[in-house]
Symmetry: C2
Subunit: 296 residues, 2 copies
Amino acid sequence: METIGVIGLGKMGKPIARHMLNAGYRVVVHNRSQGPVEELVAAGAARASTPREVASRCNVVITSLPDAPTVEAVCLGSNGIRDGATEGSILIDTSTNHPETSRRIASSLRECGIDALDAPVSGGEPGAIAGTLSIMVGGDEDAFQRATPILEKFGRTITYMGPPGSGQLTKLANQIIVALNYAAMGEGLVLGAKAGLDPEKLLRVFLGGQAQSRCLELKGEKVINGNYEPGGRLTLHIKDLQYALETAKSYGVPLLFTSLVQQCFEATKAAGRGDWDHSAVITLLEDLAGTKIRKR
Amino acid sequence: METIGVIGLGKMGKPIARHMLNAGYRVVVHNRSQGPVEELVAAGAARASTPREVASRCNVVITSLPDAPTVEAVCLGSNGIRDGATEGSILIDTSTNHPETSRRIASSLRECGIDALDAPVSGGEPGAIAGTLSIMVGGDEDAFQRATPILEKFGRTITYMGPPGSGQLTKLANQIIVALNYAAMGEGLVLGAKAGLDPEKLLRVFLGGQAQSRCLELKGEKVINGNYEPGGRLTLHIKDLQYALETAKSYGVPLLFTSLVQQCFEATKAAGRGDWDHSAVITLLEDLAGTKIRKR
């Protein structure tokens, strides 16, 4: 039985570590703040003081970190995974990372005989807790096959997308669509609300027809209640859109709508709502229109 | 039993007229071109040579017409519905019309004792044929109650939205969301395709997670096959977006994303694709990126 390391015990990493424990793996955890470490140690995990130590004690290391610089430091920095890992081990990075960074990490770890999979997830904290995440995987296909039994412990839809970076590219494309579907529902609801229509009736009509989207299903009722508790934080989605636009530029793909929605996400953050749910871009559209989409 | 008039026997009007016949109503039809009239006469309908004549022979008149000027001419012009209708009759306008025009028609017909409902539909030709359209209704609520048994013959989700114009406002908000959901899936798929990912795998991932939308379900596979057979024609959706932007302006609602998507719809039409499906805005995004989203 493998020993599994989990580095980064936030909203996603903590439930993933619990699934590893529940599946009967030996689990070694590391996190900057110690609260979640204590929780998992109480549940049976061992603690390690550096990513290097995690890697030296595990054949599989799962990372769940906020952004590309953090992932790169944890993987390739001093006292990082590269320094501790043994040949034949696997890194599974579930963070939403820059595809270029994922490729660099994969290539650097490959030289030490370590396989790196970029395996970003969709489904949020509820999906992580339920173990029903959608996982998009890039990297060596053999390594993907070896990692699949572990991925299946926290994911339901697991898709191999291609060489290193392909998982991240898929996630970024996904995040573009999610951001724009929020903007779409925002403009539809704001126009209707300002024109005096009942937002709950509007929502019902949209959900019953071609305007339906998962974003509308998950957030429509919350928007009408002015509830922007995160969920996925706006600042993290801004990071995703930044990576998407940089990546698109490198491929020669102009993204008119993504550029506009990124500016609107930035403006929403500038208005002090960076820690709200990412659907809070809709509050910017409300501000522009001088109205609120609210239950009658 | 009422006699039902149907004016405008296009993709939507013709199946609606058939549902009226199948439900056992006496049906009187009028259309500019005579082909669909002959079909319906063969199926048991009577023919009338003007909207006025239709109105004079029916207690309920259903219109299904391409744009606001046509609806206004048919309702209020010479030899129009107003000239022929008798007190107590009902107009059900299923066209996507300008809310302002719907209000003007309702107010003008009200003076003659005729109730006008704006009742635009969503669900396209397949929904019209199956009798499962979503119908959004504005107008007098009593008239809505009286018309409901007729609406139920071709609609499944029937929602009363409020005073005259409310049905149209709802439809325009719906069309904003649909247009932007196409743009969203277009940018996500174009980025992925140009970066070398398999569009079919991308589609599967999107549909399994938070990027899911009815637009992606209905059109994703077609886009990957380069199939832009209409469906709803692009030029008609441009008209809807124009009405949406004019209406938004009158309410003081700036619509950043809708403005951009309308410009992109216009550019797609300028490229000679006005008669393609409205999802063809995605071909413009392909052109901008110099790539095609195609099956491998």
